[in-house]
Amino acid sequence: MTTDIPMDKTTDDTTKVSTPEATPIIPLPHAAARGLTVAGSALALIGTFLAWTWTDEFPGNLTVTGYPGGLQVLTLVGSALTLLFALAGYGIRGLGWLTPGGKNSPVLLAALGVLGVTGYAMGAIAQELGGLVNLEPGAWVSGIGALVAVVGALGLPVDQPYDAGDPDPHLWGRVRHALTAPEPRRAKDLPSWLEILIIAAGFGVGLYVFAYGISTEYSELFIGFLIIAAFGFTAVTRAGLLKRLSALTAKHRNVTLGAAFAAAICFPFTQTNDQFALIGANILIFATVALGLNVVVGLAGLLDLGYVAFLGVGAYAAALVSGSPASTIGVTFPFWAAVLTGAVASLIFGVVIGAPTLRLRGDYLAIVTLGFGEIFRITMNNLNGNSGPDVTNGSNGIPQIPDLEILGFNLGVPHDVLGHELTRSANYYLLMLVFTIIVVMVFRRSAESRIGRAWVAIREDETAATAMGINGFRLKLLAFALGACLAGLAGTVQAHVSYSVTPEQYQFAGPVPPNSAFLLAAVILGGMGTISGPLIGAALLYLIPAKLQFMAEYQLLLFGIALMLLMRFRPEGLVADRRKQLEFHETGQLDVPEDKPLPEGATGVAKAGA
């Protein structure tokens, strides 16, 4: 072990290796451990080029030798990542940038990801085709390689010395510790064109991963994708790359926003299948509404459990003026007017509901908004000409909403743009993207203003906020109305995307997002008060149920379990804003005052004062 210390020191001069506490979980000599990891991941990589099974009954056709397909690709990517991280540990020039933070925990995480996805693939083959005999040698090569890599990675010294001096006696505690890594140090400045290029590359990779996830064609591949994405993402985070990237994005914020939307615009051009573009459009609708809810919940701290009603108001308003033959009004507004109608209708509805309910606080507000959300749905059901005036056709809803035509551009038919055919869903995806950009701008600009600060102050302590001269009720109503208006905007597009609006689309909880429970979950899962949080949360919450149709019955159960686990281990959400990060994780804060030992003479005075 000692022989390798200088190698590590060339890239990282922290004390981790030199402390006697940094013993690995499996006591192996350093060189042997790293050798095992490299060999194992290389083996797993080679295995992906061999056949894993004999029949193409298992989806993805894993029978071809010399060309990886389906789940093999995921193993390939994972083992390549492991190999890179493991080789970076040798101090090879040009790979040092890969691990500015943790050196060995990313190796372990990536190796675990490979083992997870390979093991899952082998299990799925054995289960679906009936027995382990269906596995060809290639699967065993990859599987054993992955296992060897994990054993080797467990033999690598841990990145952070143990706090208390002696290692945690429990194996689980030691494994968890081995997965942690120190924060990367500040990177030296690069030329700004290079930094911008790195941001662009980062978003490019993000877009590719996201597009790959959306276009997974069978659920085995999607599960494998989730496994490798989760482990890979954590590994990249532990390696400190994400920290480096977010430091760059914080420096070039407008470039980042631009890159993010450029990546989002590119998405439909990566899709040839209309079905996947539709998923993209629906994710955007869901994400935009979640971001609107984030104004209400994340900034102003008003727990709104009936938020989907505002989406419904926007959608119904747009449907009624869309010129649908089923519309009871029978007028046809141009799109811009329909959008205004939807937004204003939602705004009015928000003010009407908000004015009486916002006098309540906390749980009471949540219950009342839950009630109003249901009242909206039931009212739409009852305005059927039978139990009330005929406005919404009751439970039939308003079907046959015509496709939009904006400036002579019919969104309902495919168009050829730059040699790529944009389908109907792709058109709507791009239209919705415009609205997402608007909502992102509204969120960002309002959050960084006097109004946004007042909202956060109300969330923190309403009594103190009013004592500071903030008109609590007015500002809460403003947040509520703004949130409603943003949801209404999204609703106007949603009506056209889904061809019809019915009351059943706007429930409190249901299997298909967006509904109020899922919207709130997206905000909390993603990270309250952030922009990217609800977008990521909404994407995950939409994709996972859409891709894993087979577990439809258990979906809400699994969803509940996942949410509980998240609240236990990462209460600030996937993307934490700085405040929340500090709020939930007391340790490791930079600005906690140090406990300095008092000088001898001072103790007497302090005691007298106390």
Partner: protein
């Protein structure tokens, strides 16, 4: 009733007359009159539960007084906290109520809320005045942080400040609303003597800026150093008001804090007798002396 010690040229900032606050059958504050003039530091003391904080809440609009009225610079205050702050009365809280998860600077910026006008449209469209107003607010907030000695910690979360600095931040936040009268509810609670001294200096500095100060405090020494005038509240009623020395010597105040001597209370002779007896006992039983001393 006002026994002002300051020069007659000063004007009245706060004029509370006959403020009464009842909670059901309980009368927490009964007919309290109090005036505060410009450039004055007035203390409000009284035993626990005397109604000091309730009176404060009546002044700041958190409670609507059952009877009586509160006027600020001649205009009667509306019973809404944010309007009171807008009129020019700012306060701090007995148990610190900072916006714990906002930074120090943001806390002070929230205090600027009433003195800035930029609304949602201005923020969304980034209208011409927006950036200028925002910069002016930031500048003013940083000045206040310099004034209270917190400028170096502007980017820290308020919750991570040490206790004494949280108190200072609360004062800075209150000052950000450009008040004519500052109400401090136990500003030195839990502070050590050095911190108390610093707080005293800070309050004098605030007074020198022309802001009248009304302080609730338990630390009598602090009040005596600080205040031009002290009012004593006992069981919801103001029993004395006047210069610090006068109040300190007043029998009723002593009675309120320490209780009245009962009839046939031990005189000097009895006291001497007890002392002699104790001295005897101490000599007789040397083992217990150390413990006895501690007690």
């Amino acid at each position: 009733m006002t026994t002002t010690t300051t020069a007659p040229t000063t004007t009245t900032v706060l004029d509370a007359s006959g403020v009464t606050m009842r909670f059901g059958g309980l009368t927490a504050v009964r007919g309290v009159d109090l005036t505060v003039n410009t450039g004055e530091i007035v203390g409000l003391i009284g035993p626990n539960g005397a109604g000091k904080t309730t009176f404060f809440n009546c002044l700041t609009g958190l409670y609507v007084p059952t009877e009586g009225k509160v006027a600020y610079k001649g205009t009667v205050l509306p019973p809404k906290p944010h309007l009171v702050t807008q009129a020019g009365i700012a306060r701090t809280f007995q148990n610190i109520r900072l916006f714990a998860n906002m930074t120090v600077l943001e806390n002070v910026l929230v205090g600027r809320h009433t003195r800035t006008k930029e609304g949602l449209w201005s923020a969304l469209l980034r209208l011409p005045g927006f950036r200028k107003a925002e910069e002016a607010s930031r500048e003013r907030a940083m000045e206040l942080l310099e004034f209270t000695g917190l400028a170096a910690k502007a980017d820290h979360l308020a919750r991570n400040l040490p206790y004494g600095e949280q108190r200072k931040l609360e004062i800075a936040r209150a000052l950000a609303s450009e008040p004519g009268l500052l109400l401090l509810d136990e500003p030195t609670a839990g502070m050590n003597p050095q911190e108390t001294r610093a707080a005293e200096e800070l309050i004098f500095a605030i007074r020198d800026q022309g802001i009248a100060v009304l302080v609730i405090e338990h630390d009598i020494r602090f009040i005596m150093n600080l205040c031009d005038r002290v009012a004593v509240l006992v069981q919801g009623e103001k029993i004395v008001e006047g210069p610090a020395e006068v109040v300190q010597a007043d029998e009723r105040v002593i009675a309120a804090y320490l209780g009245e001597p009962f009839e046939g209370a031990p005189g000097a002779a009895e006291a001497a007798e007890v002392e002699a007896a104790e001295a005897d006992a101490a000599e007789g039983d040397a083992h217990s002396t150390t413990e006895g001393d501690d007690k």
